[in-house]
C-alpha cells in the first residue's frame, strides 16, 4: 500500500504547526490499520526534521518551533495507546525528568526544551518550576529515568544545579543518570564546573545533545 500522500500530509501538519490536522491524520492512519511506529517514523519524524532544518536556516523562530512540538504532541496522544498495545516504543531516546531548579520560577526555556524533547521522541516528566533538588532525584528513581535536566534563569539559583549533582553523588546515584543543565546564564564551562554531563545552547541543540548522549551511552555499554 502506498501511503506517501498521507505521510506527506502528516509531515506538513508538523511543519505548519497544525495540531488539529496532525491529530486527525494520526486517527485516519490508525483507522486504516497502519502500524503506529511506522506512521511516526515515516509521517511525523520527517516533519520534525524539516522543522529543525528551517530553524537552522533561520526561517523558523521559537513560536513556529513550539507550535510544531505541540502538533507532534497531539499526534502522539492519538498514536501512543496503539504503540503500547503493539509493544512498540515511540522513543528512540529515553526517559527525561526535567524542571526549573529550586528557587527559580522562570520556566519558558525549560518548557521549550521539554516540548522539543517530547517531540523528538523522549518520554518527558516535567516537574514544573521551583523544583526541590530531592524531587528531581525521587522522580528519576520512580520512573527509571535516563536523564535529569535542570534549568535556571538566575545566576543566584544556578548554584543549585551544582548542588543537584552533589546530591546525586551523595546518594550514590551520580552514574545512574545523565545530567543536563541549561538556562540563560548556563554555559559549557558552567556545566563542567557543576559536574553535569551536558550543556546545550538552545532547545533544538538540546534534543540533538540528548540523542548523542543516548547513542554514546549505548556504545559505551556495549564495550
Amino acid at each position: 500500500m502506498n501511503n506517501g500522500g498521507l505521510y506527506a500530509g502528516m509531515s506538513k501538519a508538523i511543519v505548519d504547526g497544525d495540531g488539529v490536522r496532525a491529530g486527525r491524520l494520526a486517527g485516519e492512519a490508525l483507522g486504516a490499520g497502519l502500524d503506529p511506529s511506522e506512521v511516526i517514523e515515516m509521517g511525523y519524524v520527517p516533519g520534525l526534521r524539516r522543522v529543525g532544518e528551517l530553524w537552522e536556516a533561520g526561517e523558523y523562530f521559537l513560536p513556529e518551533l513550539i507550535a510544531s512540538a505541540e502538533a507532534m504532541k497531539a499526534a502522539m496522544a492519538v498514536l501512543e495507546p496503539g504503540l503500547r498495545h503493539s509493544g512498540g516504543r515511540a522513543a528512540t531516546g529515553g526517559k527525561v525528568v526535567i524542571g526549573t531548579i529550586e528557587g527559580d520560577i522562570h520556566d519558558i526555556g525549560k518548557n521549550l526544551v521539554a516540548a522539543m524533547l517530547q517531540a523528538g521522541g523522549f518520554e518527558v516528566f516535567d516537574l514544573g518550576a521551583d523544583v526541590k533538588l530531592g524531587s528531581f532525584i525521587d522522580k528519576a528513581e520512580a520512573v527509571g529515568a535516563d536523564f535529569i535536566c535542570a534549568s535556571a534563569l538566575l545566576t543566584t539559583t544556578m548554584a543549585n544545579q551544582k548542588r543537584l549533582v552533589a546530591l546525586l553523588r551523595e546518594r550514590k546515584l551520580r552514574d545512574k543518570y545523565m545530567v543536563i543543565v541549561g538556562g540563560a546564564p548556563a554555559s559549557r564551562k558552567w556545566a563542567e564546573e557543576a559536574g553535569a554531563d551536558g550543556y546545550a545552547e538552545n532547545a533544538v541543540a538540546a534534543v540533538k545533545l540528548a540523542k548523542d548522549m543516548v547513542s554514546r551511552r549505548a556504545l559505551g555499554e556495549r564495550r
Partner: protein
C-alpha cells in the same frame, strides 16, 4: 523671556493611551489577577473586590482602582542620607540610578564576567558616589561571598555605610524587609522621620502574566505601611509572557501595575507608588529578553506616558545594554535608552553600568554612562532664551574681523549652555595619536582608578554606623549566621 520648551516625545495618541487604560481596567474587572498573599486578598475582599481564597484570584472593579489612583500621590520627594538634599520624583524630572542587582562584574583586566564580592560592592558604591549625573544609588551588585539568606539587607547595609544618595533597592525574601526598614529608620532617626523623608525606593515585581507573588505582595504592603515608595516592576516579555503586540503588552502592564497600586493603597491610603517596569521585547530566536531592543524602549516610553496620564511618578529600566563588553553595541543601546527615557520624562531611570540583560555591572561602563546621563540632562534642559534681545544687541558695531571668543557674552554663557565631556574624544587626529590612541574604554578605566583612589566621599558618622551594624548583626544571627565579610575593608 519666552518660556523654554522641554523637548518631549509621546508614542501614544491620547485616544490609544485611554483605550489601553480602559482595557487594562476591564481586564482586572473581568478576568482578574492572581494574588498569592492572604492579607492582600483579605484587604481586597474588604474593599469590595471579588477575591477567591481558594484560587487566589481576585477581580478588581474599576471604581476601586480609580479611587485608589486618586489617593496615590502624584509626586514623591526623596531625600539623601543627610536629609538635606531633596529630589522630586514626578512631573518630567529625571533621575538616573545604576541598573540593580547584577550578579557579576565585568573585570577590566580579563574582559570577562566574574562573580561580584563584597569588596566589589563597596567599590561600586564609592564609585557611584562620585558620579554627578547618577542621582540615586542602587543596590547594584549581589555579593557572592554573603549567604543568600541575608543578601538583600546586607547590600543595603553596605550602601548606607558608603553612600549618601537615595537608594533604589528591594527585598529578596519576606524576612529581609524588617531589618532593611530598621536600617533606613536608624539613619533618619525614627520611622516617622523616614516616612516624612523617604531614603529608599523598594522595587516589587509582579510575575507575568497577571500575578503578584507572596514575596512581592508582602513587600508592597510592608513598604506602604512604612511610607517607603514601592516601584512597581511589571515585566511582560512580548510573545512569551505577554502579548506579542506592544499595545497588548501595555494593557497587561497597566492591569498588573494598577493591581499593585490598589494593594498599596489598601494597606495604607496615600502610600507612595511609582509606575515602573522592566518589560522587554522577547527574542524569538535566542529566547532572551533584550533590554537594548528598540521595541523594549518603545514599550517603556509608552507605559511611562500612560503613568503620567494617570498622574503617577514613573520609572523604567533604560540606559543599559545587552552587550557583554563595552563595545559599540553597549554605547548605542545605552545612549539610545538614556535619550529616549529623558525625552519621555521618566522620573527614575535604572540602567547605567549594566550589561548582559541586567546581569553584569561594569565600572568602566558606569563612568561612560555618567557622561551619557549628563548629555541627557542637557538635552532636556532645551533651548532657552537667555537674554532680551537674544542676539541683536551683540552685533552693534559689527566689523569684518569680528569674533566672539573674547566677547563677555561668551564667558557669561558658554559654561551654562554647553557641557564639556570628560571621556568623549574631541582631539584633533594628531593629538589623539600623540596621546596614545586611547579609546573611550581606556579613558574610562583610568577614570575609575582615579575616582577609587580618592578618599571615600561619604562615610557614615560613627554613631549611626554602630546602629546599623547592630541591626545587621542581629538579622544575621536570627538567620543562623555568624559574622559577615567586614565592610571596613
Amino acid at each position: 523671556m519666552i518660556e523654554t520648551r522641554r523637548p518631549k516625545i509621546e508614542f501614544l495618541s491620547p485616544e490609544l493611551a485611554d483605550k489601553i487604560v480602559d482595557e487594562g481596567l476591564a481586564l482586572l474587572e473581568k478576568e482578574g489577577i492572581f494574588v498569592e498573599n492572604r492579607e492582600a486578598l483579605k484587604l481586597l475582599g474588604e474593599a469590595g473586590a471579588a477575591a477567591d481564597g481558594a484560587t487566589l484570584r481576585v477581580r478588581i472593579g474599576r471604581g476601586l482602582v480609580l479611587e485608589c489612583l486618586a489617593s496615590t500621590p502624584a509626586t514623591i520627594t526623596m531625600y539623601d542620607r543627610s536629609g538635606e538634599k531633596s529630589y522630586l520624583v514626578g512631573g518630567d524630572e529625571i533621575h538616573f540610578d545604576p541598573g540593580s542587582a547584577a550578579v557579576s562584574l565585568l573585570d577590566h583586566g580579563t574582559q570577562e564576567e566574574r562573580k561580584a564580592g563584597t569588596r566589589d560592592l563597596i567599590d561600586f558604591y564609592r564609585l557611584v558616589e562620585t558620579l554627578d549625573h547618577i542621582h540615586f544609588q542602587s543596590t547594584g551588585l549581589v555579593s557572592s561571598d554573603v549567604p543568600a539568606g541575608v543578601a538583600d539587607a546586607y547590600r543595603l547595609y553596605l550602601g548606607l555605610l558608603h553612600s549618601a544618595k537615595p537608594f533604589v533597592t528591594g527585598t529578596f525574601r519576606v524576612e529581609g524587609f524588617e531589618p532593611m526598614k530598621d536600617m533606613l529608620a536608624a539613619v533618619r532617626g525614627g520611622e516617622e522621620e523616614l516616612r516624612r523623608k523617604p531614603l529608599a525606593i523598594f522595587d516589587a515585581c509582579p510575575s507575568p502574566p497577571l500575578k503578584w507573588s507572596n514575596l512581592t505582595t508582602r513587600s508592597l504592603i510592608d513598604a506602604a505601611r512604612a511610607g517607603i515608595p514601592s516601584e512597581l516592576i511589571s515585566m511582560g516579555m512580548t510573545g512569551a509572557t505577554s502579548l506579542a503586540t506592544i499595545a497588548g503588552t501595555l494593557v497587561q502592564h497597566v492591569a498588573e501595575s494598577l493591581a499593585g497600586l490598589v494593594i498599596c493603597q489598601l494597606a495604607r491610603r496615600g502610600a507612595p507608588v511609582i509606575f515602573g517596569g522592566s518589560p522587554s521585547s522577547f527574542d524569538m530566536r535566542k529566547g532572551t529578553t533584550p533590554m537594548g531592543a528598540v521595541e523594549t524602549m518603545m514599550i517603556d516610553s509608552a507605559y511611562a506616558q500612560i503613568g503620567k496620564r494617570l498622574k503617577l511618578p514613573t520609572h523604567a529600566y533604560m540606559a543599559l545594554s545587552d552587550a557583554k563588553v563595552n563595545d559599540a553595541q553597549s554605547g548605542i543601546e545605552t545612549a539610545m535608552g538614556a535619550v529616549l527615557a529623558a525625552l519621555s520624562g521618566i522620573n527614575v531611570i535604572s540602567g547605567p553600568g549594566m550589561l548582559d540583560f541586567e546581569s553584569c555591572q561594569s565600572f568602566e561602563k558606569l563612568v561612560i554612562d555618567d557622561e551619557i546621563c549628563g548629555m541627557a540632562y542637557r538635552l532636556i534642559a532645551g533651548v532657552a532664551q537667555r537674554e532680551e534681545p537674544i542676539a541683536l544687541d551683540k552685533f552693534e558695531g559689527f566689523k569684518p574681523d569680528f569674533q566672539f571668543l573674547s566677547h563677555p557674552h561668551t564667558r557669561c554663557w558658554y559654561r551654562r549652555e554647553h557641557i564639556l565631556p570628560r571621556l568623549m574624544d574631541r582631539d584633533p587626529y594628531e593629538a589623539w595619536v600623540m596621546a596614545g590612541r586611547t579609546t573611550v574604554l581606556d579613558k574610562a578605566h583610568r577614570d575609575v582608578e582615579e575616582r577609587l583612589r580618592k578618599p571615600p566621599l561619604s562615610p557614615l558618622p560613627a554613631g549611626t554606623r554602630a546602629d546599623l551594624q547592630k541591626i545587621m548583626a542581629g538579622y544575621a544571627r536570627s538567620q543562623g549566621l555568624g559574622p559577615l565579610p567586614e565592610p571596613g575593608l
